[in-house]
Amino acid sequence: MQQYVNVNIDGAIIRAIRGTSVLDTAIEYGICIPHLCHVPGLTDIGACRLCIVEHVVNGRSKVTTSCTLNVEEGMVILTSTDKIRKLRHNLAELLVAQAPNSRAIQDIAVRCGVTSVRYPFRNADCVLCGRCVRTCTEIWKARAIGFVGRGKDRHVDYPFGIQPEFCKQCNNCIQICPMTITPCNGPMKPGEEYLCGQCESQLIVADETPGSCVWCELGEGFACGRYA
């Protein structure tokens, strides 16, 4: 039998299923917490940090990722305070600087209020969210890809860099990768990049609806509450 706990998210008292994460609960209830590495049904690893919230305990608040935080009785969560918005803005800015050539990443950045970037663009083709690795491991049970190396050398790869024969070629790793949702087709001159929004990311409507939920294309893949 399912057990329930009462949690307070942004002032709303929510009856949440015990054992679920704060992020899942909030989405279920229609409170959008921006997130990137979370995929319903896969283990959460807290890789992207976008889903940070303030967890208030005894009048003190701790900033932590809501996807890796399980609901508890009497919990108080704030998802959109000035402090959180500022931190999240910065995280999203770093993320989009790492990989601006993906509409999905631009969308999520716009959702976090980023319209321009102060950091040098890296034009990388991976943000190390681990969505591919987890779908391969947990859904397809193939373990054909994984994280290799550490620190700045960390990357996703096959064992020894060669596609193994036990890869099921399901392509799920590619479909679920945020880099593949409308990738940018016109890379700019290195050093002169900016967020152009040519991929029709939500950047074009950012002025009218700053920081609000923008029906990002990501939501679908994420099974965001709005698509449920």
């Binding site: 373990r143 994984g146 994280f147 290799v148």
Partner: protein, 163 residues
């Protein structure tokens, strides 16, 4: 590494995934590095997916995935050695041997490594050559050291040979 040696290492530890790191250590001890076939065998023996073995082996600095050179030059890049010019030593070694940090010369004679402090800061900059410590090393001293080990060859021929 022979299948026999692997068998010996795996003996008594088969089907125990939690022994992964110990087994990898033993493989490295025996061979100086962890060859691909050994990882495959370890994966089979312990029942750990090969991806996991590779991930772990590539994660820890203690494991090397390529064979080391006969003489491993380890340059200390810790704070104390760094401020005394360890960077120049690294440039000297890579330039003279024509290889990058972590690589092996084609003749298998040298490889270059770095560490972050060997605990003898007062004597820095430190370079170790296999197990031997060299203290207060300068680029000049290092050049001579490499020349000596490389068989008293002057820099040019040494260089030509490694190409």
């Amino acid at each position: 590494m022979s299948p026999l040696a692997i068998d010996q290492i795996l003996d008594g530890r088969r089907s125990q995934p939690d022994q992964l790191i110990e087994v990898l250590h033993d493989v490295q001890e025996k061979d100086g590095y962890i060859p691909e076939e050994a990882m495959q065998a370890v994966s089979q023996g312990l029942g750990v997916p090969i991806m996991e073995v590779y991930r772990v082996a590539s994660f820890y600095k203690a494991f090397r995935l390529k064979p080391a050179g006969k003489n491993v030059l380890t340059i200390c890049m810790g704070t104390a050695c760094h401020v005394r010019g360890a960077r120049l030593l690294l440039d000297q070694a890579t330039g003279q041997l024509g290889i990058e940090l972590g690589d092996v010369t084609p003749d298998g004679l040298f490889s270059i490594e770095r560490v972050n402090c060997l605990g003898t800061c007062a004597l820095g900059p430190i370079v170790t050559e296999n197990e031997t410590y060299h203290h207060h090393v300068t680029p000049g001293k290092l050049r001579k050291l490499i020349d000596t080990i490389g068989g008293q060859q002057p820099e040019e021929t040494q260089h030509a040979q490694t190409q």
